[in-house]
Amino acid sequence: MSSLLRLATAGSVDDGKSTLVGRLLYDTKSVLADQLDAVQRASVDRGLSTPDLSLLVDGLRSEREQGITIDVAYRYFATPKRSFVLADTPGHVQYTRNTVTGASTAQLAVLLVDARKGVVEQTRRHAAVLALLGVPRLVLAVNKVDLIGYDEAAFTVIAKEFATHAASLGYAEGSVLTIPVSALVGDNVATSSENTPWYTGPTLLEHLETVPVAPDPHEAPFRLPVQYVIRPRTPEYPDYRGYAGQIAAGTVRPGDEVVVLPRGLRTTVESVGTADGQLDEAGAGSSVTVLLADDLDIARGDLIASAADRPEVTDEFTAALCWLSTKSLQPGARVLVKHGARTVQALVEELNSRFDEQTLSTVEGPDSLELNEIGSVRLRLSEEIPVDDYAASARTGAFLVIDPKDGDTLAAGLVGERFSALGGSEQ
C-alpha cells in the first residue's frame, strides 16, 4: 500500500525549478516516450544538444510563447513507496497568489535557491508565506551546485543562513532539510552524487519518500463540517438521516460525545461509516457519513465537533488575508466568507496592518490591501459561525473571501493573529 504526499515547489525565476520538477518526473520514469519525444524535438528546434527537461512542465501555449509560467500547475509522479501530487508554483509573477494556493494543501514544500546566489529576498518571502499557511516541513534545494564546483563551505553558509531564517519563522530544526542538488546533472535528486562526498543526507527523492506525513490527526479535536444530509426515503431506509462530510481535524468513534454548532446541540455519535460499511474510527481527511443518536435538525453548513473541545462560535474575529485579486480591499468592504460548507455575508470592519514578508514586520493601518499583499483584518459576519484559530486547526480556521458581485475569489483567509508567530511585531 503506497501513501500519498502532497507537496509544493517554490523558487525565484532562473533557479531551475522547472528543470528540477522535470528531473523528478524523468528520474521516477513518470515521463513517457511520446512526451519525451516532444521535448527532444523542441530542444533540437531550439538548438540545444541535450533535452531541456523544463519543457516537460511548460503548459499552455501562451506560456510557451512568452517563456513564462503564470499559474500553479499540478504534476504527478510515483515510486513504489509513495505517490506524489506536486503543486508547481511559479515564483516571479503573482508569487503570493500562487504560493498560497500551492501551500494550502501541501504537507511539505521544496524551496529552490541558486547555489551561486544563496538565500535571496524571494526565498525569505516564500518561506514566510509557507510558514503563514502552516506548511509543516520545508526542504531547501540548493540547486546548481555543479556551478560552484561542489563547494562544501559555500553550501554550508547557505544552509546555516536558511536554518536561522526558518527558525525565526517557527520551524523546528527537524522540520527543515537543506540538500545540495543539480537538477541539470541530476546530483542528489534521485541518486546520491559522487560529486558531493561531504553530503551524507538523503537525496531529495529519498527524503520525499520517507518523510513522515504530518500532522497526526489524533492530536487535534474532532471537526466535521456537514456538507450534505443523506436522506434516502426508500423502503429499505425510510428513516435514515446521515450527515456527510470530510473530517477536517481529529478522529471520531461511535459513542463519542459531540456538539452541533453553531446552535450548540449536544448528542452522541451512533455510527461512522462509508458506502463500504461501518468504521471503528475515522480520522482527518476521510469522507464519511455520521449518524447521531438524537433526531436533530441539522443542515449543510453546520459543524459537528468534539463536545469536550469545541471551537468558538462568533460573528466577529481577527484574521489574516492573503489578497489574491487585482481589485484592492478597503476598510468597510462587504464580502462573502466561505467557511467549511457555509457561506455568510461579512463586513471588513478594520484593516489593522499589512505584513511585510521581507522584513517580517508589520505596517500599521494601511489604506488598502492590494494584489499579493497579506494583511490583518477585523471581520464582522451576518451570523455566528464556529471557528478555530488557523494555527490550532487549519481546515476549520481557513476560509475564502468571495466578491458578492461577480463571485471571484478575492482572498485566502486564516482565522487568528498570525503575524506575531512569524516574527512580526503586531502592535
Binding site: 499552455l60 504527478y76 494556493t101 458506502a275 480520522g283 461577480d406 471571484d408
Partner: protein, 306 residues
C-alpha cells in the same frame, strides 16, 4: 501496530485519499448547485466517476442525471454497458445525438468523417436547454500538459468557453462554485488521479467496465500509426488492409479516431502491468484528435470541449 495507527495508515493510503477527495467534491456540488449532471459515455473514466458518485450518496440514490453526447460512432459494447448501468442503478440518462444536429443543419459533417470535434455544440446546447449548472467530467490533470493547470471547479462562460484569466485560485478543500446566470462550472473529481491510480482503484473496487478495455479479437486497419476498427464512420479505404489482431482500448471516444492497442491483457491485473510498462501516454497512443496539433487540447478547451 495499534488500531489507531492502522486507521491513520489507511487514511493516508493513496487510493483512499483520492477517493475521499472525489467524494468530497461530489457532495460539495450537490450542496451548492441546483442542476448538476454527470457526463457519462460508458468509458472507464466516466464509469469511475459514477462509481464514486454512488459511494458519495449511499444509501440514497445519486441525486443527478447522466448526460451522454453520442457521436453515433459508437462501440456497441460500450452502449450496451451504458444502458445496463443506467438500468441497474435506476439512473436518468439524457442523450444528445450529434446526428440530430447534423440532420437539421446545425452541424456539418467534417471531410475526414471524425465526429469528436462535433460534440462541443450538442454538449453546450444541451447544457443550456436543461439549465445544467454543474457538469461533472472525468478529466485528469495527468492526461495532457494543457490540463496540468485545470481547476477542479472550472468556470465556463455563457458560451461554454474556458478563460484562463478568469479561473479562480483553489485553496484548501474550499471550492467556489459561484457563477452568473447562463454560466456553468465543469467539475473534475478525478483531477489528481493518474492512469495508474484509475486502474488500481478499478481493481480494488472491482468496478465493471465495457469488455473492449480488455484483450479481444478485432478486425482493424492501420491509419496514422493507429489501429482503427471497421465501422459506419467509413474506413478502411481501398489502400488500407484489414487484419484480425488481439487488441484492447485504453480510451474510448468517437470510433473514427479511437485507436486500439495490440495487447493480450485480458484481466484488470494484466492491464495494470501493461500500464506500468507502457512507454506512451493514453492519449498519445490512442487518440488521433489529440495529435492534430501540440496545442490541440488547449484550443478545444477554449471552445468549450471537456
Amino acid at each position: 501496530m495499534t488500531t489507531l495507527e492502522a486507521a491513520a495508515d489507511a487514511a493516508r493510503d493513496n487510493l483512499t485519499a483520492l477517493e475521499s477527495e472525489a467524494i468530497h467534491i461530489f457532495r460539495e456540488v450537490a450542496g451548492e448547485f441546483d442542476r448538476p449532471v454527470i457526463l457519462f459515455s460508458g468509458g472507464k473514466d466516466s464509469t469511475l466517476l459514477l462509481h464514486l458518485a454512488i459511494k458519495a450518496f449511499w444509501p440514497a440514490p445519486v441525486p443527478f442525471p447522466l448526460l451522454h453526447v453520442d457521436t453515433g460512432h459508437n462501440f456497441e459494447e460500450v452502449i450496451d454497458f451504458r444502458d445496463r448501468v443506467v438500468e441497474k442503478y435506476g439512473l436518468r440518462l439524457v442523450v444528445a445525438h450529434v446526428q440530430d444536429w447534423i440532420d437539421d443543419g446545425r452541424l456539418t459533417e467534417r471531410p475526414d468523417g471524425t465526429r469528436n470535434p462535433l460534440q462541443t455544440q450538442p454538449l453546450l446546447d444541451t447544457i443550456t436547454e436543461h439549465k445544467f449548472d454543474a457538469v461533472f467530467g472525468g478529466g485528469r490533470r495527468d492526461e495532457e500538459r494543457a490540463r496540468a493547470k485545470e481547476r477542479i471547479f472550472s468556470l465556463r462562460n455563457a458560451f461554454g468557453q474556458w478563460e484562463p484569466r478568469r479561473q479562480r485560485p483553489e485553496l484548501w478543500n474550499l471550492y467556489n462554485g459561484r457563477h452568473r446566470p447562463g454560466e456553468h462550472v465543469r467539475v473534475f473529481p478525478l483531477s489528481n488521479w493518474t492512469e495508474a491510480d484509475v486502474w488500481n482503484y478499478i481493481a480494488r473496487e472491482e468496478v465493471d467496465l465495457p469488455s473492449i478495455y480488455y484483450a479481444h479479437q478485432r478486425k482493424v486497419y492501420r491509419r496514422d500509426g493507429m489501429w482503427l476498427t471497421e465501422g459506419p464512420w467509413g474506413g478502411p479505404r481501398e489502400d488500407e488492409t484489414v487484419e484480425e489482431l488481439t487488441v484492447r482500448y485504453r480510451t474510448v471516444g468517437d470510433g473514427s479516431c479511437t485507436g486500439a492497442v495490440e495487447s493480450t491483457a485480458s484481466t484488470v491485473e494484466d492491464v495494470i502491468a501493461e500500464v506500468q510498462a507502457s512507454r506512451l501516454t493514453e492519449r498519445g497512443a490512442t487518440r488521433a484528435d489529440d495529435r492534430l496539433s501540440e496545442a490541440a487540447m488547449e484550443d478545444r478547451k477554449r471552445e468549450g470541449y471537456f
